[in-house]
């Protein structure tokens, strides 16, 4: 079992009791999954919780994985379902539990999102990032945050996780055309949001 082994081979090894195979799989996908949750919920604690739930679910139901679909699709399908559950639970949350800043009329959640965007823009992958580039990153993250949930999800899955439109359609239980349409709208909005800095 090498490091270049396919995901499906690794999960097969793990089904036979090889824990190292799972470690390899986790190393491959942990950043993408965490990023997917963090950009959707804008909360580190919630992202931690969802991330852990998804991987424990993978561990628990690994024996049920069949080779009919790819591991990647299966993993993101579980992540998507967990995110949908989270949205449902959040919508049922009583209003008095949602803390608001009475003076400014801005919710704590909004502040947290702003902080996350700012920190992400500042803590760039490239250390020699200029101030202008940091501003562009900040602007982009704001644009992503302003996208509707469905369009944002499609953009994140395509951009960060590297899923094709067909795979995204499978993960989100949507048709190929509607998935493509969501991505088209998302790109269009982001382009207009960053019209000043982005060029063809």
């Amino acid at each position: 079992m090498g490091k270049n082994a396919a995901d499906e081979q690794l999960i097969q090894f793990y089904q036979k009791g090889d824990s190292e195979a799972f470690e390899l799989l986790y190393a491959r996908y942990k950043s993408a999954i965490y990023h997917y949750f963090f950009r959707q919920v804008h909360s580190k604690d919630t992202a931690d919780e969802l991330h852990q739930d998804v991987w424990l679910n993978i561990i628990k139901s690994s024996s049920r994985f069949t080779q009919q679909s790819s591991f990647k699709t299966w993993l993101y399908k579980i992540a998507h379902n967990r995110l949908v559950d989270h949205y449902r639970q959040s919508s049922r949350q009583p209003l008095y539990l949602v803390k608001t800043d009475t003076q400014n009329g801005v919710s704590d959640e909004k502040i947290e999102i702003e902080k996350a965007i700012e920190s992400s823009a500042l803590e760039s992958n490239e250390p020699e990032m200029t101030i202008q580039e940091q501003q562009v990153s900040h602007l982009l993250l704001q644009g992503i945050n302003d996208l509707p949930e469905e369009q944002r999800e499609v953009f994140l899955l395509h951009e960060k996780s590297g899923l094709t439109l067909q795979e995204i359609a499978l993960v989100t239980d949507s048709s190929f055309e509607s998935t493509k349409s969501r991505l088209r709208y998302a790109i269009k909005k982001l382009r207009h949001h960053m019209n000043l800095v982005l060029t063809l």
Partner: protein, 282 residues
């Protein structure tokens, strides 16, 4: 002017749509600056504590799966059970083989010797054995010493049965040459043809068919006797018939009286038990 302005608005929007579409096509090809910008944005990593929790859970689960995946033949108990079953099967096989060996070594009497009834002309009340020389002669005649299915004479001598006078006086049904050819024929040994050194008749053989015919005749005779037709004298028969008629007529007292008289007159004569039952209690 109004017309011009009205026409220019959809044209510009169309141009924008076309630009968006071209931008989208480039984005799908991976040639967009949007993707480059997003890839530079820092992507958050899960905390190490979370990684450790997840990996430890995975290891725990894998050890459980390893235990489950151990096949039954790899378990010590299964090994012990398999060895025990194999040993038992081997033991049983050996014992069966041993028993077969012992069984084949046993001496068997020849089948014809067992099934042949020998009759001695010198009638005695109890069965007796044939002389040794006669037995030797018969054994040589059959030539079946090597037949493992048959007992040896010495270990299981054939019984000698007394023959009735009527059989002795009769001629054999099968002629001697035929008997010689049919060595395996089952039959009754009769003594009307040869005498031994002691002056006794050496038994000759009678075929099974003849014996069966004789038996059938005997049976017919017995059935006639049971009908009491020829067994009683005329007077006795007359009395018994009279008793039966009285019973049929329902005159049981009269029938009883006649029966008493019959019993006094012929005390040794047996009476049909059916008749007695009809007059019971007598």
């Amino acid at each position: 002017m109004k017309k011009t302005s009205n026409n220019s608005t959809p044209l510009s929007s169309l141009l924008i749509d076309e630009e968006d579409e071209a931008f989208f096509e480039q984005y799908l090809k991976g040639e967009s600056s949007l993707s480059e910008t997003y890839q530079k944005v820092n992507s958050p990593e899960p905390p190490e504590m979370l990684d450790q929790n997840i990996l430890s859970a995975a290891r725990k689960k894998s050890s459980e799966m390893q235990k489950k995946s151990v096949q039954w033949w790899q378990q010590p108990a299964s090994w012990a059970a398999s060895v025990a079953v194999f040993s038992l099967a081997a033991l049983l096989t050996h014992q069966t083989w041993q028993a077969e060996q012992d069984f084949s070594e046993q001496d068997f009497a020849p089948i014809d010797a067992v099934e042949t009834i020998q009759a001695d002309k010198t009638y005695t009340a109890s069965p007796r054995l044939l002389p040794n020389d006669v037995k030797e002669k018969k054994r040589t005649h059959h030539g079946d010493n090597n037949d493992s299915r048959k007992l040896l004479y010495k270990s299981a001598p054939a019984p000698v049965m007394p023959a009735a006078q009527e059989y002795i006086s009769r001629k054999p049904i099968i002629s001697p040459p035929e008997r010689a050819n049919k060595s395996q024929t089952q039959g009754v040994v009769l003594g009307d043809t040869v005498t031994d050194d002691a002056g006794r008749f050496v038994p000759s053989e009678l075929s099974e068919e003849s014996v069966l015919i004789e038996k059938r005749e005997q049976k017919n005779n017995l059935s006639k006797e049971q009908g009491l037709g020829e067994y009683y004298s005329k007077e006795q028969s007359h009395q018994l018939e009279k008793i039966q008629q009285l019973i049929k007529q329902g005159k049981f007292d009269e029938a009883k009286e006649i029966l008493q008289q019959f019993k006094v007159k012929y005390p040794e004569m047996p009476i049909n038990p059916v008749l007695l039952q009809q007059l019971s209690p007598y």
